[in-house]
């Protein structure tokens, strides 16, 4: 039943109407950035770039959770996996990401215990079933994954599952938007704001950012028609010189967001400065586990020190994540760096900009 719904958002007639509208109103060149890996993939998979007028360019921002995870964090994950009696549990995307000297996938080949889970509930269950082991969940993602990870920490504390901990490498989207706009010569004329993140934080979470920068900003859903709708709204705002913070994903996103999810994040986590790959330190853009949950904070449970990591030489992930370059402008793209031999994280995750370009672009 739900899928009939989705099919409507792929309808070619509606798509044509929206495209006609965009073609008619778009006079000046406009560069729009999406800040969500699922948008990146949807745009590539549906071939939206191939049907847009030349005036409209789409850039992919720091929206892929794996891609923005700092190299030092990746190295920490790998070191954790090397500890005896530790079971690392993780979402699948992280498995192949190359650290400075290894990857989680390679460590699995070395006999280390790394399990891909679909939800933190499963990670907690693994901890309960293996009381003699220490189970660590790699908490990577944005405001979207933070609530369920917070809930698992909360449950672990309540049920006294002492051998479960989380390493929190979460990132927050609104501070990242601020950071992007502070980059010199930033090539962005409007933002396609993320759908899933906005379901949690609500439209109002972008108000301070919008007030500060007055740049066209529209929340979009993930079907091709959702994205075309958002693009048409952004182009219209740009052409008429009337930037707004708007919502093209009203069936899921409200002004206030999901209050329960916000509450559990607030209960378990507190904002902290954190490093984003390609961008660097962004103040108050991460989440660390609050003191009452210290027993479940892997950073405190284990004392992991990793040497200063080196970003791969020649890799343009940083410029790509900030819209300064597109993948074909990186010297390594397709030559040295491919999904089979990824150099940077943007080529590893299926939601990475480089992987999506490689997989789908003509």
């Amino acid at each position: 039943m739900a899928l009939k719904h989705i099919e409507e958002y792929k309808d070619s007639k509606i798509a044509k109407q929206l495209l006609e509208k965009i073609k008619n109103i778009s006079k000046q060149n406009i560069r729009l950035m999406e800040v969500c890996g699922t948008h990146t993939v949807s745009i590539c998979r549906s071939g939206i770039r191939s049907v847009l007028p030349e005036t409209v360019s789409l850039l992919s921002g720091p929206g892929c959770p794996v891609c923005v995870t700092d190299q030092a964090e990746i190295d920490t994950f790998i070191e954790l996996a090397k500890i005896d009696d530790v079971i690392v549990t993780t979402f699948g995307d992280l498995i192949r990401v190359p650290g400075t000297t290894s990857s989680l996938q390679k460590e699995t080949g070395n006999g280390r215990e790394i399990r891909v889970v679909y939800s933190t509930v499963d990670a907690l269950e693994i901890a309960r079933k293996n009381p003699e082991k220490k189970v660590v969940f790699l908490g990577v993602g944005f405001e979207t994954t933070a609530p369920t990870i917070a809930a698992s920490i909360h449950s672990a504390a309540r049920m006294n599952v002492k051998n479960f901990s989380v390493i929190s490498a979460h990132k927050l989207i609104p501070p990242a938007l601020e950071a992007l706009m502070s980059i010199e010569n930033v090539p962005i004329d409007g933002f396609i704001l993320p759908g899933h993140v906005s379901v949690i934080i609500g439209l109002k979470a972008y108000q301070p950012f919008f007030k500060h920068h007055q740049i066209p900003s529209v929340v979009a859903g993930f079907e091709p028609i959702d994205i075309l709708q958002a693009i048409s709204m952004l182009v219209e705002q740009y052409e008429t010189g009337s930037p707004r913070l708007d919502n093209a994903y009203r069936r899921a996103v409200t002004s206030e967001g999901n209050k329960k999810a916000q509450q559990i994040i607030e209960d378990v986590f507190e904002p902290a400065d954190t490093c984003w790959r390609g961008i660097g330190m962004i103040p108050q853009s991460g989440l660390k586990i609050r003191a009452p949950y210290v027993d479940h904070d892997a950073e405190k449970v284990f004392d992991i020190q990793v040497p200063e990591p080196q970003d791969p030489k020649g890799c343009a992930c940083g410029e790509i994540l900030t819209g300064l370059k597109i993948p074909p402008e990186c010297a390594l793209y397709k030559k040295v760096c491919t999904p089979a031999d990824p150099v940077g994280p943007c080529m590893v995750s299926t939601e990475g900009t480089c992987a999506a370009y490689y997989q789908y672009h003509i």
Binding site: V66, D122, A340
Partner: protein
């Protein structure tokens, strides 16, 4: 990924598997029959053309909705032989069983294999059984090999796609892949999707009874339709264009894929075939496939085009065009 150890990706059927075959295996076993890299070997002995194929089955779970490791092992090899244009005749069965494995499960699997062999009209004529210590394999692994005879005037191979060929897909995609995914430990939702495990040898014979103008037959198992089409485009040195709106997929399968961030084009099928056929005969062949009980949802999904040699393109439902690339390794569930 450069590594001194074998990783799961080496067995995924994608780029990394291909590289293992071309770098490590082809140079050692170097011969023209193997280098053709068809689903099975095609060769001639004293005037008789034969197809010979082997496959090993390690599926987890061993019993899944719509099938089990036993019938999968029979149908998998039967289908590989059928995709060479051959009529499968004899099969061998090799069992590697873990110490402590349940006798009643073994009995159940063997009975299913017998049933499957009768259904596919093949005879199991030789076999081998090994029992290994606890932990040396995961419950039971099965290898099957088989031979079949290729009738005269049939010539199908992955390198045989011709200009303007129509591409027929015999039914819905990704049913097997999604079934296995949803059965694995750690995925906490229920679904009614079942594996499409089925023998395709009868369907192939019905196709050839309709027309001999079939150039390529492939069953898009591991790696799915996307990977198989890429292999055909590369080996036949042609461009392929497919149309998103014509690819049959069950709603539930599409929904689960959306949820997990999987592209159904790369998920396994165990009872579907892709046929590249001359455009003049395509409608007739499509009707023949649809008349088979495993081909009701068959559809013409695309054609061979003049440009984009070696590549697969897709026209999307909104009218855009994009590449259907080959995956490096297994798909991984995304973070959000």
């Amino acid at each position: 990924m450069k590594t001194d150890k074998i990783l799961l990706d080496h067995g995924s059927g994608g780029r990394i598997s291909h590289r293992l075959i071309s770098d490590l295996m082809l140079p050692v076993f170097d011969n023209p029959i193997l280098s053709a890299l068809n689903d099975g070997a095609i060769f001639e002995i004293e005037g008789m053309r034969l197809a010979f194929s082997t496959d090993s089955y390690t599926v987890d779970p061993i019993f899944f909705p719509g099938g089990n490791i036993g019938d999968l092992a029979i149908y998998g090899t039967v289908n590989d032989i059928a995709m060479c244009g051959a009529i499968p005749i004899y099969l061998s069965v090799g069992l590697i069983i873990e110490e402590g494995f349940s006798m009643s499960d073994l009995n159940k699997i063997l009975k299913e294999m017998g049933k499957a062999a009768r259904k596919a009209q093949v005879t199991i004529v030789t076999g081998d059984t090994k029992v290994v210590p606890n932990g040396a394999v995961d419950r039971i692994f099965i290898n099957t090999s088989g031979i079949g005879r290729i009738p005269d005037d049939i010539d199908v191979a992955s390198y045989n796609a011709k200009a303007k060929d129509k591409i027929i897909l015999s039914g819905t995609i990704a049913d097997h892949g999604v079934t296995i995914l949803t059965q694995r430990e750690g995925l906490s939702f229920e679904s009614t999707v079942t594996s499409d495990t089925a023998p395709l040898s009868h369907m192939v014979q019905q196709i050839f009874a309709t027309s001999k103008d079939i150039h390529v037959l492939r069953d898009p198992t591991r790696g799915g339709v996307g990977t198989t089409l890429n292999e055909i485009a590369e080996k036949s040195e042609v461009g392929i264009k497919i149309y998103e709106g014509t690819i049959p997929i069950k709603r539930e399968v599409a929904g689960i894929c959306e949820l997990l961030g999987f592209d159904p084009l790369y998920l396994a099928n165990e009872g579907k075939l892709l046929a590249f056929v001359s455009p003049e005969h395509s409608d007739r062949i499509l009707s023949a496939i649809k008349a088979n009980s495993y081909g009701k949802d068959a559809s013409i999904i695309g054609e061979v085009v003049d440009d984009h040699q070696g590549k697969v393109l897709m026209q999307t439902q909104i009218g855009g065009t994009r590449i259907v690339g080959m995956l490096a390794g297994d798909q991984l569930p995304r973070i959000c």
